[in-house]
Symmetry: C2
Subunit: 156 residues, 2 copies
DNA sequence: ATTATATAGTTTCAAATGGAACAAAAATCA
DNA sequence: TGATTTTTGTTCCATTTGAAACTATATAAT
């Protein structure tokens, strides 16, 4: 990897990551927005509740890299659409536990295979040994970015 | 790479891509928003005009994966801030050519090294041979996603 | 117990974003 | 030439997003 001195956007890692991620996200989103009328944050909420029923809003926010406002809105909308049910905790009056309704579970059950299938199509770009290599490299990148993030503390 | 039957968001490629990309973007943005008060689309516009002076709005949009409305707004804002100058083409009355002002050039000259430095920090996650491997795999992914995008034509 | 502090979640308001309609100029075509 | 279609870029409007203020409950401290 040679040293760069000029910034060519098309080869610039943050830019390429952003473009790829946007393309992937919007392709994936088209699978479930058309069919079920749910947004990306809503889908993420459904996905995580499908994995772990009964989570609270804050727990969802932590698992899903969304802020609490986004979760509030996703949950409200999912409740209106009757995909999610809220039941307040008797242990802690501030929180409520969220679960998929039967309809919500159907969304989950239908979208998961589509999503996995889409993921497989993308993985198809790489040979099997390349795939595990990708995962290894990607994880290192994630870690490093996390380190940088923690090393450069927010000014407060 | 074994077959997945359940979707765990934390291992799901589109999700991981999205999180990594967002983290990288927001770290990078913090470098120039604080110092120069420009947004991500504005920075991209400056970056591309630094590489290729005199582009028109449409040309910027093509190079930078933004839609034309985003470019219009970025350019308007950059003109107000006196980072960009618009000069209408006498060859084609519809378009105008955009250039960095001296102030805009200074932003470019200052941000580019910061951006490249940031990129180097991220690349630091990988050993040199891993870096070239990453580029290779990443390019394959980009290509595949592009293929899927073209294979699934927009409904119009 | 009473006060202070922290946490969960919502609301509010302003800014960012996206799509459709639009105006102006250019290109095509009859 | 004159009519039609494209292209460029902007504006308008509705939706989304984000940050800060706020309410309600819970926890800690004195």
């Amino acid at each position: 990897m040679e040293q760069k001195s000029s910034l060519q956007l098309q080869y610039f890692l943050p830019y390429r990551l952003s473009v790829l991620s946007n393309n992937v996200s919007s392709l994936l989103a088209s699978l479930y927005t058309e069919k079920f009328g749910i947004s990306i944050p809503e889908w993420r909420t459904v996905a995580v509740l499908g994995e772990e029923p009964g989570l609270t809003s804050t727990q969802i926010a932590m698992r899903v890299a969304m802020d609490k406002v986004a979760v509030t809105r996703a949950v409200q909308s999912l409740i209106e659409k009757q995909f999610v049910l809220r039941s307040s905790s008797q242990a802690d009056g501030r929180v409520s536990h969220l679960n998929l309704t039967e309809r919500g579970q159907r969304v989950y059950d239908e979208v998961v295979p589509m999503a996995l299938n889409f993921e497989r199509e993308i993985w198809g770009a790489l040979a099997p040994e390349e795939q595990s290599y990708w995962v290894k490299l990607f994880s290192k990148m994630e870690q490093r970015v996390e380190e940088i993030r923690n090393g450069v503390p927010k000014l407060d």
